[in-house]
């Protein structure tokens, strides 16, 4: 309890840093989800009719998730330098699989009869995709986005090790200051803020879900 009070006091006395860390961390999540989301959905759509291409895309995306985060964060440093760029690339690669897998699952799960009916009514392939396939697969895709967002929040804390900022800064500076005053508070603050951010993003995604999913399939 005492520690909790000190933690809150610590956070309040560093509102600027807290805000900056949160914004930076959230910025990773947003940019990564948007870019990786688009990339994964397009990949899923393009490969949806070809079993080999589909499975190959999945297999490659899952290998990225196998590569340790510290390694993936630093492996691009010689090419792009430190800071945002290598962190973004690593988080982007990590986020692909959940969204790609769910895009494919979502598209595969559509009742062929529905597609047949759509084609039969004279919709062009593009219209079928945009008006029927994607809306029907959307809830599943969004679930993948949610998994990716949790993943990104957690792993983005590593960005601090390659000067990428974010909430990991609190953990790193706390670790460097142990056992001085406010060092533990700093570590806990960084860790807990990750959870808070994850919770907030989860709520936003739920709202997005409620707003974008057709009532008929909710």
């Amino acid at each position: 309890m005492d520690f909790l009070l000190r933690l809150i006091e610590f956070a309040l006395s560093r509102q600027e840093q807290v805000a900056e860390g949160l914004v930076q961390h959230a910025w990773y999540v947003i940019t990564v989800l948007v870019t990786a989301g688009l990339f994964a959905i397009v990949t899923g759509v393009v490969t949806r009719r070809n079993l080999l291409a589909k499975e190959l895309a999945l297999a490659i995306a899952s290998v990225f998730l196998t590569i340790p985060s510290l390694a993936l964060f630093v492996i691009f440093i010689p090419l792009v330098g430190l800071g945002f760029a290598p962190s973004f690339i690593a988080l982007f690669l990590y986020s692909l699989l959940p969204i790609l897998r769910n895009t494919i699952t979502g598209l595969d799960g559509i009742d062929p009869g529905v597609l047949d009916a759509a084609k039969g009514m004279g919709l062009s392939p593009l219209q079928v995709l945009i008006k029927v396939e994607l809306p029907l697969a959307w809830p599943v895709i969004l679930a993948g986005v949610r998994v990716s967002s949790m993943l990104t929040v957690g792993i983005a804390s590593i960005a601090t090790l390659v000067a990428g900022g974010g909430l990991g800064d609190f953990i790193k500076s706390g670790l460097a200051r142990l056992p001085l005053p406010n060092s533990l508070e700093s570590i806990w603050l960084g860790t807990l803020l990750c959870l808070v951010l994850a919770l907030a993003i989860d709520l936003i995604l739920q709202a997005l879900r409620a707003a974008t999913i057709s009532k008929g399939i909710r």
Binding site: P78, V147, I187
Partner: protein
């Protein structure tokens, strides 16, 4: 690396085959990259000091010990807990676990290791426990999901034929859940090998030392070779787990 997403569906033969092919291809490509860097870049004295063979050897050993011990610990904890939770009497605990485990992914392993340090002090045990705490989730979740998805009529038939609860668990439920449980263990092993790169922060050793030295001393080749080694190690374990998944799952599924 935090593959906490769960693959409960039985995989197609094609994806199973690709699963066994792609990891080795990546590992070989990374190995070639690492060797090329080693051979073709000018390694100054500092880089050579960072990459000294006895250091790398020790760090490799530490990474292996960290990854494997924590994985073993996770299996020893999560599988029994998962089994216990899916037995009758804990439905609420089960849904609570399955629901919160998703959010648990957002917990930074980095913070977790440091927090464990603040309670337990430095050393390899701290790291093993922190890694285990972090990778507990996928195994526990997959154990629960794996056991839950066993066809209820199969269990009913088994009970009706007079198998005891223990026989049903050992002979029916676990064999039928083994693929999903193994998928969770595979995730945990990969997480543990991967995050053991952060062990150096609290005196747990591992290849993270090489990467961090490279970062601090601004030696690109050292960073890259360290990262490549960690990645290859993770890929090798991923591959071994995939093999285990393939050969340990019962035929007929």
């Amino acid at each position: 690396m935090t593959t906490a997403n769960i693959n409960t569906k039985t995989r197609s033969p094609l994806s199973e085959r690709l699963d066994l092919i792609i990891s080795p291809i990546f590992a070989v490509a990374l190995a070639i990259l690492g060797i090329a860097v080693w051979v073709y870049s000018d390694l100054d004295k500092i880089t050579i000091a960072i990459l000294s063979p006895e250091k790398i050897q020790r760090q490799l050993g530490e990474t292996l010990i960290l990854g494997l011990t924590s994985s073993l610990l996770v299996i020893l904890i999560s599988v029994p807990v998962g089994i216990l939770v899916t037995r009758k009497g804990y439905p609420r605990l089960k849904s609570l676990l399955v629901n919160t485990l998703g959010l648990g992914q957002a917990l930074p392993a980095y913070g977790l290791i440091v927090i464990f340090f603040s309670f337990m002090g430095s050393g390899i045990v701290t790291v093993i426990l922190a890694l285990a705490a972090f990778s507990l989730l996928p195994v526990l979740r997959n154990t629960i999901v794996g056991l839950e998805q066993v066809d209820k009529s199969v269990i009913d038939a088994a009970r009706g034929m007079g198998l005891t609860a223990r026989q049903i668990l050992l002979k029916i439920e676990l064999p039928l859940a083994v693929e999903v449980i193994l998928a969770g263990i595979r995730t945990a092993v990969v997480i543990n090998v991967g995050f053991s790169a952060l062990a150096f922060l609290v005196g747990g050793g591992g290849l993270g030392e090489t990467i961090n030295s490279g970062l601090k001393l601004d030696r690109g080749p050292a960073i890259l070779i360290g990262a490549v080694m960690v990645a290859i190690l993770a890929l090798v374990f991923d591959f071994l787990s995939a093999l285990a998944q393939k050969y340990l799952k019962p035929k007929g599924l």
